[in-house]
């Protein structure tokens, strides 16, 4: 990856985080920490053009089908959809507000969204249906499914994984946002009874289900591009699972890998610290301040 391209994408990712904070604080709602763990992955897919899409024709027949299974990540996807032309930026300003298209969970009527999300454990089974049709029709488009790691506790994912592996759905590309945390507990370590089922060894699990597995740092654009760069030329017949190790709340010190921030929106001093983390100016009034970060190219 060229330095210039990486810097461009890093600026995009920073802008997305700033926009997410603005949207969530305005609506007093939204899964900021979940959006922050997936940011680089989505920026790479959309602004980095790892995915084939046409924002002027969202139903373009040859597009890759992007399935957001972790529907609460919608707040982190909407700025990207606006940036690449699916949505007017004005839609972001009234996130989850009256008559606004964009709710907390990404829904199928939003341009660029394939499915109705919000309940976890649905994206992967649905993705197998897309992938099966793609293979039947001998199409080149891929199905790219972004999963949260905590949602892997839903058994439906493993029903789907068994089908995808045994039916060799080679056009199915899954990415797990492995931030290690659910709503109240961790999925990668047990410290308290509130910590949930442990996913490790996650790579071995998916290998056993018939997937090719690649493990990367999900915040590192070089590694994301290395893992996804060959998805159209892969040899073999297995579906691909990318385990992207990430940090929930990445970039915001008060919430990064911290409990209790799954669905909290910072206010007061917490908000001031978070704005400072993102390099944003302090708010001078209680009124909403516009994010003054650049929107990139």
């Amino acid at each position: 990856m060229q330095l210039e391209q990486r810097q461009t994408l890093e600026r995009k990712a920073h802008w997305v985080r700033c926009k997410v904070l603005e949207m969530a604080t305005h609506a007093k709602s939204g899964h900021i920490s979940s959006a922050y763990s997936q940011t680089e992955l989505l920026v790479a897919l959309y602004q980095g053009r790892l995915m084939n899409y046409n924002s002027k024709n969202p139903r373009w027949e040859d597009r890759d089908r992007f399935i957001l299974s972790k529907g609460q990540g919608g707040i982190g996807l909407y700025p990207i959809l606006a940036d690449v032309g699916y949505l007017p930026h004005s839609e972001l300003d009234n996130f989850a507000g009256r008559d606004n298209l964009l709710g907390v969970h990404a829904e199928h009527h939003i341009p660029g969204m394939e499915i109705f999300s919000g309940s976890l454990g649905h994206g992967l089974p649905i993705s197998t249906g897309f992938a099966q049709v793609g293979l039947l029709r001998k199409k080149d488009w891929l199905v790219i499914c972004l999963l949260g790691d905590a949602e892997l506790a839903e058994g439906s994912n493993w029903e789907a994984a068994m089908f995808a592996g045994s039916k060799r759905l080679s056009n199915l590309i899954c990415i797990v946002d492995r931030n290690g945390a659910g709503v109240t507990g961790y999925t990668d370590r047990i410290e308290f009874p509130c910590d949930g089922p442990q996913l490790n060894p996650l790579d071995k699990k998916f290998e056993a289900f018939g997937f090719d597995v690649r493990t990367i740092d999900g915040h590192d654009f070089d590694q994301i591009f290395a893992a996804l760069g060959d998805i159209r030329q892969r040899q073999g017949k297995k579906p691909l699972m990318i385990i992207a190790n990430t940090h929930k709340g990445k970039g915001a010190s008060i919430m990064e890998d911290k409990r209790l921030w799954h669905y909290r929106v910072p206010a007061g001093e917490d908000l001031a610290v978070t704005r400072a983390d993102l390099g944003l100016k302090p708010l001078r009034t209680n009124k909403r301040a516009l994010v003054d970060a650049e929107q990139g190219e």
């Binding site: 199928h108 394939e114 499915i115 109705f116 919000g118 309940s119 454990g121 649905h122 992967l124 089974p125 649905i126 993705s127 197998t128 249906g129 897309f130 992938a131 099966q132 049709v133 793609g134 039947l136 058994g155 439906s156 029903e159 789907a160 068994m162 089908f163």
Partner: protein, 314 residues
């Protein structure tokens, strides 16, 4: 019009008709949760790109159906009735109905059809919960002629659907060709001022009860509500015209089932007739011995229902 000979099961009548549709439309697909039928063999033998088995995995069944439907396929999803309704209820809500997709859920084993298999296999709450889902059409046929017609009816309907079939071959009722199943409500037998409204296997019980009532001078008409949702209320009221009392019969829990549905329709239309609801009370049935034993123990056999109706109309 007595219930007569045992014939081809309604499920297989449906699949046989559906097979002809599948042959002419390659965009149709059938997904099974590892549930078979004699008439299904031809699907995977002759149409291998239109038949899939996800294993005993109903969440995957509906999720995969959703993905295929979003790509333009007309999908038939098949499992035993309790498992394609209750087991994957959220998938029915989120993956089918909320996106209003052309997926037909085919469930076999309505009511106590799987009698000795116990409450896990009894399907006595499906009418209530499936009709609660917006966009969902619910069919409950009583014989193989109706089932056969539902192949084309379901194919032409672009929305979410659920069809519940009885398990075994049930006798024919509608062989004379004068019934329009697309109406969703059938005047199975015209008759007197007592109306027996039934669905599924209970239509056969209602016919027998009408015979019994006739012996003691009570003339009853039989109405088959073969489409539970949406109800064709115009046709229903046409068939109820002149009725003075209505009895509903269902092999189903009374909570929100056929009787409850009828009460809703009556209230909403200011239709004031005495209504007797016959069905199962708030219980699970662990009794062995077969369907007729269950009917007898819980007042769903012809004798018990006839007696109860006679007491009620006195």
């Amino acid at each position: 019009m007595a219930s007569t000979k045992f014939i081809f099961g309604m499920r297989d009548a449906f699949f046989s008709a559906l097979y002809e549709i599948f042959k002419r439309d390659p965009e149709t697909v059938f997904i099974s949760a590892d549930n078979g039928a004699p008439t299904l063999d031809q699907f995977y033998q002759n149409l291998p790109n239109q038949y899939f088995n996800v294993g005993i995995a109903e969440q995957q069944l509906i999720g995969m159906a959703c993905g295929m439907a979003l790509e333009g396929k007309k999908v038939y999803a098949y499992a035993i009735a309790p498992f394609i309704t209750v087991r994957c209820y959220e998938q029915n809500k989120v993956d089918i109905c909320a996106m209003n997709l052309p997926i037909v859920n085919v469930g076999v084993g309505a009511g106590y059809a799987y009698d000795i298999m116990g409450p896990t296999h009894h399907t006595v709450e499906d009418l209530t919960i499936m009709r609660a889902l917006p966009n969902m059409t619910v069919h409950s046929p009583a014989d193989s002629y109706c089932a056969e017609a539902l192949a084309e009816i379901s194919y032409r309907n672009p929305g979410p659907q659920y069809i519940r079939f009885d398990r075994a071959g049930v006798p024919e009722i509608y062989g004379d060709g004068r019934f329009n199943f697309a109406d969703g409500v059938l005047l199975t037998r015209p008759g007197g001022s007592l109306a027996l409204v039934a669905t599924g296997i209970m239509v056969h019980q209602a016919i027998k009860i009408a015979d019994e009532l006739a012996k003691v001078g009570v003339q009853a008409r039989v109405i088959d509500l073969c489409r539970i949702k949406p109800v064709n209320t115009e046709r229903l009221f046409e068939y109820l015209k002149g009725a003075e009392r209505v009895v509903t019969m269902e092999e189903h829990l009374l909570a929100g089932g056929l009787g409850g549905l009828m009460a809703e329709i009556f209230v909403d239309n200011d239709y004031r007739l005495p209504l007797l609801r016959i069905g199962q009370n708030d219980r699970y049935v662990f009794d062995n011995g077969g369907r007729e034993v269950i009917w007898e123990k819980y007042g769903l056999d012809v004798r018990s229902m006839t007696d109860r109706i006679l007491r009620w109309i006195k």
